[in-house]
Amino acid sequence: MNIEFVLNGRRVSAAADADDSLYKVLRGLGMYSVKCGCETTNCGLCTVHMDGRAVLSCSVPAARCAGHEITTLEGMQEEARRLGACLAGEGAEQCGYCAPGLMMNVFALAKENPHATDAEIDAFLAGNLCRCSGYVSQRKAIKTYLGMVCGEVRA
């Protein structure tokens, strides 16, 4: 079947089988920021936005995104550079493989709860695993980023 949806602001059409995941379709469309770290919806690496909300693209059937808006990190490059600078400033990215999924979820957090406490940040991002960093530095970087976002909202 053919699925039509909006990818990073552009209308696209992709061929997909009924059992294909959104993850697979996105990789097929060259959205290489989207990674897969498990097959059991535990790692968060494949996080993208569907109509502005964070979803795990490995567990969204491709057919379900027909007519919806899908956003990947490729479509949020400016915001990625801002959050990326915070993470890089702490050395918090290490291997970087979990970064795109984490960043997409941080963008969702910034929208839903930009004043999040440490515990709320950890809980919101609990599904985004990272094996390199030990999380401490990521939390610090994310707080810096959320502070920037809040500053803009107030201004």
Partner: protein, 768 residues
């Protein structure tokens, strides 16, 4: 070499420079293996053995081969007959040559039965279902204690080969290694001791769980050679391993390492490269394998599970006089890293207590079993050995009624002491005493040790452990670095060391910037391509900062000489009359100068002189980094549930090259150690099947599980290291298990000697 403040150096040694690859990684650029693979790659999938030990009696692939889209189906009948090891080690490897790409003899659940390559993943998976196999199931050895001299032989084949027979390998006894290292009369010393702690400790086959699973793609390049693009820590070893496995000349093989999504030792083994490689050789087509997480959990290269028997002898005043350690290591179905990991369990634990030591003995056996083959995991045996020895030291403190910190302060190795149990090397740089002192302050040891009860009935308690590791393999590890001067005075640095997220591209560039007195942005880094990069054994054994870092220093020294020579020529004077000042070469009297850009551009004119240098470096010693870790736990006595509320780590890694990256290494390593201690539970059923085969069963710490982790450095200065640096990557994983185990004991009275520590073990222990 100038280490004083130098305004020309920007982002040099000691600066928290962001990683050079950060902008690409943090905008999601396609830089990993699967992102850059050609679209026309065949999808390679493996059919896995359902049995722990079996012989293929018949295999029929005809239906699978006929399926549309299937390019090839390979079985043991289609592969070369030369045995090899997947272990990424310097030749001749200690690991026995005991593998074929596919074997008729299947030695663990998951062992590959067939390789299928098809246009799509669905076709490949469908084809696997059409392969008919009849197995002769053989009795399996699942318990390493039953392996030696068992009538069941796991590697009876005549073609099995140990390249280093002195390590005690004997396939007729299921033995991969056996040996002993000792000094003094251990039995007499133990007999003379007032207290002897005699205990057994066990650890399991923990998974590295790097976020990017094993993967590689292969193709035939322009020159008809086999090109392998792999997520590997050891590109040069992969070239040799694949050439051996495929019976190809090494000149026909090229290995490229792009960005890697984590390794932690897992990718020091060529776990998957041979499968797409043989498909490409057979079909001429590009091919890619991407392990599922399940495959990465069930057929990979986890930590060697070890059973360690410690006898620790001390006098009533707390002087530790003797340590006797025997380690039984389970290497699983194949011998990757089996002979070497076991060695670290003693050689990197016993030396901590050198100061009053009169005798030690360290004996070991590494055996085959019908379980998943083990490999290299951060810590590489030291983690296991330190769990045993540091736990025993804590048990000794309790037996003596002594503060474990005081006991350690009395016995730890001092700077300048020779360590008989550490290959006779000297602790030329050692700040372990300062690490202990600072860790105690940070955790509040004086107030918190051993335990206190909170108002809610929970018990808070603290525990401590020490750790050491090495910095590269002495006399073996090799790193070479090439730096070329380019247009306008930029430097192109080529390395064979593999950045797997650790940031070695960046810290090596920082060292070059410091040496060449320039901004770090003037140094470009390229690695790794076995065709163009200078040789490096790879990134493992905590070698990169220390071994390859020294190669950077030496290369820069050579390069400075060449720049000075050309500069002097351009100034029309002798080399002795000029000075190198980073951005220029000037006459010592200040009367004239020529800029680096002029020198660079001049050397590209009419073949004046090439300005490049390539120097290789190794070290006769492997200076240990040291650290002290302290844990504070919160125990719910009703449920046995333990929460780690605080963890402090204080590290002596010599000079800290990049404080941000060193800190992240430490925090990440500590959390892996914490996971191994509390949440990660490798499980196998009675048939040898790994049931902890996803992140649901094998629980690595998530953000909500992570305690407050606090890290500080107590630098020493290592005279043989680049700018005084030692290693950091591995040492940092070693303290959590023994420190948390003692905190749990202080909270509950239960001593857990087999990892992981669970609520069940604590509750059952309290009942006893």
């Amino acid at each position: 070499m100038s280490e004083k403040i130098n305004s020309r150096v920007i982002g040099g040694v000691g600066e928290p420079v962001p990683k050079k690859d950060a902008p690409a990684l943090l905008t999601g650029k396609p830089v990993y293996v699967a992102d850059i693979a050609p679209r026309e790659c065949l999808c390679v999938k493996l059919m896995h053995s359902p049995h722990a030990h079996a012989m293929i009696e018949e295999i029929d692939v005809s239906r699978a081969q006929r399926l549309p889209g299937v390019a090839c189906v390979l079985t043991y009948k289609d592969v070369p007959g030369t045995r090899f090891t997947q272990a990424g080690q310097t030749y001749p490897e200690f690991s026995p040559y005991d593998r074929l790409i596919l074997d008729r003899h299947l030695r663990c659940v998951g062992d590959p039965v067939a390789i299928v390559a098809a246009e799509t993943e669905k076709q490949a998976l469908a084809a696997i279902k059409l392969i008919k196999v009849s197995y002769k199931v053989l009795p399996a050895i699942l318990d390493p204690r039953e392996s030696i001299d068992n009538e069941v032989l796991i590697h009876p084949e005549e073609s099995w080969r140990a390249l280093v027979p002195s390590c005690g390998a004997d396939n007729r006894r299921n033995l991969i290694a056996a040996g002993e290292d000792a000094q003094g009369d251990i039995e007499a010393e133990l007999a003379a001791c007032d207290v002897v702690i005699d205990r057994e400790y066990t650890t399991r086959a923990n998974q590295q769980c790097m976020m990017e699973t094993f993967r590689a793609f292969t193709r035939i390049d322009t020159y008809g050679r086999l090109e392998i693009v792999s997520s590997t820590q050891v590109p040069f070893h992969v070239r040799r391993i694949l050439a051996t496995a495929l019976e190809m000349p090494k000149s026909r093989v090229r290995v490229i390492k792009p960005r890697i999504g984590g390794g932690f030792g897992a990718k020091q083994t060529a776990v998957c490269e041979q499968y797409p490689a043989i498909v490409t050789v057979k079909t001429g087509r590009p091919a890619m394998i991407v392990y599922t997480r399940e495959e990465s959990m069930t057929l990979s290269s986890p930590r060697h599970a070890m059973r360690m028997h410690v006898r620790l002898g001390a006098m009533r005043d707390g002087t530790i006089r003797a340590i006797d350690l025997h380690t039984l290591s389970n290497s699983g179905a194949y011998g990757e890293h089996g002979p070497t990991t076991v060695g670290l369990s003693g050689h990197k634990s016993i030396p901590l207590y050198t100061h009053n030591m009169k005798a030690f003995r360290f004996a070991w056996h590494t055996v085959y079993t019908n379980t998943m083959s083990a490999g290299a995991y951060r810590g590489y045996g030291a983690t296991q050995g330190l769990f045993a020895v540091e736990s025993a030291v804590n048990e000794l403190a309790h037996a003596l009624g002594m503060d474990p910190a005081v006991l350690r302060e009395k016995n730890i190795v001092r700077e300048g002491e020779t360590m008989p149990a550490y290959y006779g090397e000297t602790a030329a740089s050692c700040a372990i005493d300062r690490c202990i002192a600072r860790a105690k302050e940070m955790i509040g040891w004086a107030e918190k040790y051993p335990a206190r009860t909170l108002d809610n009935g929970h018990i808070r308690a603290v525990g401590m452990a020490l750790a050491m590791q090495g910095s590269g393999i002495s006399g073996v590890d090799t790193g070479a670095v090439m730096i070329r001067l380019g247009d306008d005075g930029i430097y192109n640095m080529s390395i064979g060391a593999t950045d797997m997220g650790t940031g070695c591209d960046t810290i090596l560039a920082q060292m070059a910037a410091q040496s060449l007195e320039c901004p770090v942005d003037n140094i470009t880094v390229h690695g790794v391509d076995t065709d163009t990069s200078p040789y490096d054994c790879g990134s493992y054994a905590s070698s990169t900062t220390y071994v390859t870092g020294m190669a950077v220093v030496k290369t820069c020294e050579e390069l400075r000489k060449k720049i000075i020579r050309v500069g002097a020529k351009l100034l029309g004077c002798r080399e002795g009359e000029v000075l190198f000042e980073g951005d220029c070469v000037k006459k010592a009297d200040g009367s004239a100068s020529v800029t680096l850009a002029q020198i660079a551009n001049a050397h590209m004119m009419a073949g004046v002189e090439d300005i490049s240098a390539c120097v290789s470096s190794g070290s006769p010693v492997s200076p240990p980094p040291f650290m002290c870790g302290c844990a504070e736990v919160d125990l719910d006595p009703l449920t046995g549930e333990v929460k780690l509320v605080d963890y402090v780590g204080v590290v002596d890694c010599g000079t800290v090259i990049n404080p941000n990256l060193a800190r992240r290494q430490t925090e990440g390593g500590l959390l892996q150690g914490i996971g191994m201690t509390l949440t990660e539970r490798p499980e196998m059923d009675h048939l040898g099947r790994t049931v902890s085969n996803s992140f649901l069963q094998y629980k690595i710490p998530a953000r909500v599980d992570a305690p407050n982790i606090r890290v500080e450095f107590e630098p020493s200065y290592e005279p043989t290291g680049p700018f005084g640096a030692k290693s950091i990557g591995e040492c940092v994983i070693n303290t959590p298990a023994p420190a948390i185990a003692d905190a749990v004991y202080n909270a509950s009275g239960v001593r857990v000697r087999d990892l992981p520590i669970t609520a069940e073990k604590i509750l059952l222990g309290r009942k006893e």
